[in-house]
């Protein structure tokens, strides 16, 4: 696999897997309006994943976006582990989404300056969507953090539990460094400062405590995941794998 291909897959997979999780909310939201909002975000992420995978397929030359989404195994997926974590209750989903949105907004802003024109165009389009996602998730962090005693306790716990998955956002491996060198990729490490500001600011407004940066999970850059990803894939990929000759 080419370096660029793998670099793009990392971005695409995070969008794809988180989109999958959000789509699980369909018909289960706390209100009809929220059901629609979560589907909306899921759709945006799916659109991002689709554009990125199509580009990836073009570079690859032999695979389609669908092949990449539906025919790769667990160890060939490179999404952040935070994206595959379970929806839990609404607060868990919001905490996961808020931390992810804060990161991807910064990431895509930098990616829009990439020398790779297609990546830059996809990033530029995505920024508009992520702005909306971040507004939605931070508004809910405020409502839940500064809502009732119950909601405060719940969302605080959500943040405490999910925190260890945020370390992966800022990792840089050999491939990332190479892409950065080529002025194609982003320096994730440098995003941490600004991410801290966004997150701390919102948590403070919501009267929540920021969890300590302690032990952090890692592995997704090498295709190491939690057990949850395999279950997502077996559901997501079941039809194309059961009927390999069929077109849909």
């Amino acid at each position: 696999m080419q370096d660029l291909e793998k670099y793009i897959l990392r971005i695409a997979d995070s969008s794809l897997i988180l989109s999958h999780r959000l789509s699980e909310w369909c018909s289960k939201g706390p209100s009809l309006e929220e059901d629609i909002a979560l589907s909306n975000i899921s759709l945006d992420l799916l659109g991002q994943a689709n554009s990125l995978l199509e580009y990836c397929g073009k570079i690859n030359g032999t695979k389609t976006a669908d092949d990449l989404a539906f025919k790769r195994g667990e160890r060939e997926f490179f999404n952040f582990q935070i994206c595959e974590q379970e929806n839990g209750h609404f607060g868990d989903t919001i905490a996961r989404q808020f931390l992810f949105d804060s990161f991807t907004l910064l990431f895509f802003k930098k990616l829009s300056e990439s020398k790779d024109e297609i990546l830059s165009a996809i990033a530029l389009k995505s920024i508009k969507e992520i702005n909306y996602h971040l507004r939605h998730s931070s508004n809910w962090v405020l409502r839940l953090g500064d809502g009732t005693a119950t909601s405060k306790e719940k969302i605080q716990n959500s943040f405490n539990k999910i925190w260890k998955y945020t370390g992966e956002f800022f990792e840089m491996d050999q491939l990332d460094l190479k892409m950065l060198d080529l002025k194609i990729g982003v320096n994730n490490n440098q995003l941490k400062k600004e991410w801290d500001i966004i997150v701390n600011d919102t948590l403070k407004k919501a009267k929540l405590n920021r969890p300590e940066d302690g032990f952090m999970m890692t592995g997704s850059k090498n295709g190491i995941h939690t057990e949850l990803l395999g279950k997502i894939l077996s559901e997501m990929q079941y039809i194309p794998r059961a009927y390999p000759d069929a077109k849909w």
Binding site: C26, S27, I36, A69, F90, W248
Partner: protein
């Protein structure tokens, strides 16, 4: 004294009669009734029942299709399905608002649904067992809904009529997308063809039952026609749907599971077999394959979302205090 009360009552009676006459004249002249206009109690309650049933159907209908979103077989198929189910949620929202113009709240409507006092379309009490069911639902269920809703665009209540015009546009997208799935599968591998035919076999009869009981067994049709809430009878709508759908099935090589289906030259319509009304009433009365599951699912989401809605309310209250 006694005489006085009698004469007041008589005046009131005359006044009501007059109101009702003006109302009916308006209806006869094809003018729309708007929320602030006077309307008979029966008209109002009929509309609340019908529009809320329609809204509940849109919402409960999200479940059988939502069942396949995480398993959609291609990225494109997943986007189309997700967007479709989202549309249905939007339809529900829109119809609840139309219902609220008649003086009921969404909370009350929700409560009626949970207590089993309000119905939703029985079609959604059937399970979705394969991907082909996403095709069958779009093609047949949205297709049947369109036939009904096109006639409701001319319904006499303004907000409902306008809602139908808006919703119909999206429903015809859904119908085409569903048909596309079916066409694709019917022309696909042997297994795909079998799945498509199986979905048609399972959804055909429930779909034509969607139009409700036969006119001869439909007790409420009388006033609904007079008030022009309903513009066509159940049997007319059903026939319209069947005539339109048979050719579509033929075009993609699928067979409608009705041995009695035959073109009737004289009527210019298809004759069709006897509908299993026992099954129909069974499902209406709660004994379909998924009745309990659908309602439980809806209640569970509502209950689990309680603390979220409470938090949002508390937060909003604090904000206005702080202003």
């Amino acid at each position: 004294m006694k005489n006085d009360i009698f004469s007041i009552n008589l005046q009131k009676h005359n006044y009501l009669n007059m109101q009702e006459e003006i109302f009916q004249d308006k209806i006869n002249a094809e003018k729309k009734i708007e929320p602030k206009d006077w309307m008979p109690d029966g008209y109002r309650s009929h509309l609340i029942r019908q529009i809320s049933q329609h809204a509940h159907s849109e919402i409960i209908g999200m479940q059988p299709e939502g069942n396949w979103i995480t398993r959609a077989p291609s990225l494109r198929a997943k986007m189309i399905l997700l967007a479709k189910v989202q549309d249905e949620a939007g339809h529900g929202l829109y119809l609840y608002s139309a219902c609220e113009t008649l003086g009921v709240t969404r909370d009350e409507l929700n409560k009626q649904l949970h207590e089993g006092k309000a119905k939703y379309s029985s079609i959604f009490n059937y399970p979705t067992l394969s991907w082909a069911d996403m095709g069958a639902i779009g093609w047949l269920v949205d297709g049947a809904a369109i036939v009904n809703q096109v006639s409701l665009q001319k319904t006499s209540y303004g907000p409902y009529s306008r809602g139908m015009i808006k919703i119909c546009k999206e429903e015809s997208f859904h119908q085409r997308q569903g048909y596309e799935i079916m066409a694709h599968m019917a022309n696909g591998t042997k297994e795909q063809k079998e799945m498509a035919q199986d979905a048609l076999n399972r959804f055909w009869w429930p779909s034509i039952m969607m139009f409700g009981p036969q006119d001869s067994d439909s007790p409420r049709t009388g006033n609904a026609m007079k008030w022009k809430i309903k513009r066509k009878t159940n049997d007319e709508l059903r026939q319209n749907f069947i005539d339109k759908t048979v050719a579509q099935a033929e075009l993609i090589g699928l067979k409608i599971p009705d041995p009695d289906l035959k073109w009737n030259e004289e009527r210019g319509s298809y004759d069709f077999g006897e509908i299993d009304w026992e099954e129909f009433w069974n499902v209406v009365n709660g004994n379909g394959p998924c009745n309990e599951q659908r309602l439980e699912h809806h209640k569970k989401a509502h209950t689990e979302g309680e603390w979220v809605r409470e938090a949002a309310k508390a937060y909003a209250k604090k904000q206005t205090h702080n202003e």
